[in-house]
């Protein structure tokens, strides 16, 4: 059973980690977390992104936003690169989310088949 006391032990290591991670990130990964997103399963997607970034070293921050305006395509994940260019992924699930991190963030390759553009074709 975990206790809050255990957090103290994690603190020093976390401090070092945070210092290492300081500085600009190349990517910003944004999850739509409005009513439409939540109902469609955005929360497990966010959780998968957090879990994966805790495990591996990813050059990105994970943030949340409200409704993106395409409710039927939720869960939506947007990836902004450092130039501000945006890739929008739709109907994301936890497995796809991890794939997006591993391919797009790690290797810089867009997972074309999960994008809105591919879906709307």
């Amino acid at each position: 059973m975990k206790s809050l006391e255990d957090l103290k032990k994690m603190r020093e290591e976390a401090k070092k980690r945070v210092e290492l991670r300081e500085g600009g990130k190349d990517y910003r990964v944004v999850v739509g977390m409005a009513t439409c997103g939540i109902a469609a399963g955005a929360r497990p997607v966010l959780n998968a992104l957090v879990e994966e970034t805790a495990r591996g070293d990813y050059n990105c921050t994970i943030t949340q936003t409200g409704c993106i305006g395409m409710c039927t395509l939720e869960p939506i994940v947007e990836v902004y690169d450092k130039n501000g260019d945006k890739t929008t992924y739709c109907h994301v699930n936890p497995e796809k989310a991890v794939e997006i991190l591993r391919q797009h963030i790690k290797k810089g390759e867009i997972v074309t088949q999960y994008t809105v553009a591919a879906y709307q074709k």
Partner: protein, 191 residues
């Protein structure tokens, strides 16, 4: 919305958007009285009387990206579905309280769902906000306050992925143990 945890996250997201500094969430299960309650209270910007009247109308929203707003409508709908009641109180500049209380054993009463994951998502969304959560089942309760966690962590941010995962697992374990203790009570309570 499949479960209560998702609704909790959705309603509390309203609080975040209202610029709340503190969000108080109470989840209460009382098997003797057969009640299940969930309340979300914040110190955000609040609503004026007119907005308040329309807030749970599915065709009203304060946002501009779309014309419907289902969060509070779902919340209210659930209470109507499960022999419950719905409370929505708000004062501009003071904050808002949204709460439901339903019959726990009702056919349409949703499962609690993954409360820990919803709380983690809230912390992730804005770690600066103080989250004050209490889960009570019968006579047992579990309290989780991000303020206490922040004191322990000093300047380590709560949304650090590893810390966040730890917090989620911690909340999950505590919730499960309360649920179990609640069951023990149920058995002895019958004899």
């Amino acid at each position: 919305m499949q479960d209560l945890a998702m609704m909790m996250l959705d309603i509390a997201n309203n609080s975040l958007r209202a610029g709340a500094k503190t969000i108080i969430i109470r989840l209460l299960e009382d098997e003797k009285k057969d009640r299940l309650g969930l309340s979300i209270e914040d110190d955000g910007c609040g609503m004026d009387e007119e907005t308040l009247q329309r807030a749970s109308d599915p065709f009203y929203t304060s946002r501009t990206t779309r014309k419907i707003g289902l969060g509070l409508a779902f919340f209210k709908g659930l209470s109507e579905q499960c022999e419950g009641n719905f409370t929505l109180r708000s004062k501009p500049g003071k904050g808002t309280l949204a709460a439901i209380e339903i019959r726990r054993s009702h056919w349409d009463a949703p499962p609690l769902g993954n409360i820990a994951e919803s709380l983690a998502a809230l912390i992730q969304a804005n770690p600066a906000v103080n989250l004050d959560f209490q889960y009570q089942k019968n006579e047992h309760d579990f309290v989780f306050q991000t303020e206490a966690v922040k004191q322990i962590l000093e300047d380590v941010p709560l949304n650090d992925p590893e810390i966040l995962l730890w917090l989620k697992e911690y909340i999950d374990q505590q919730m499960q143990s309360i649920e179990k203790e609640g069951e023990t009570y149920e058995i002895t309570g019958r004899s």
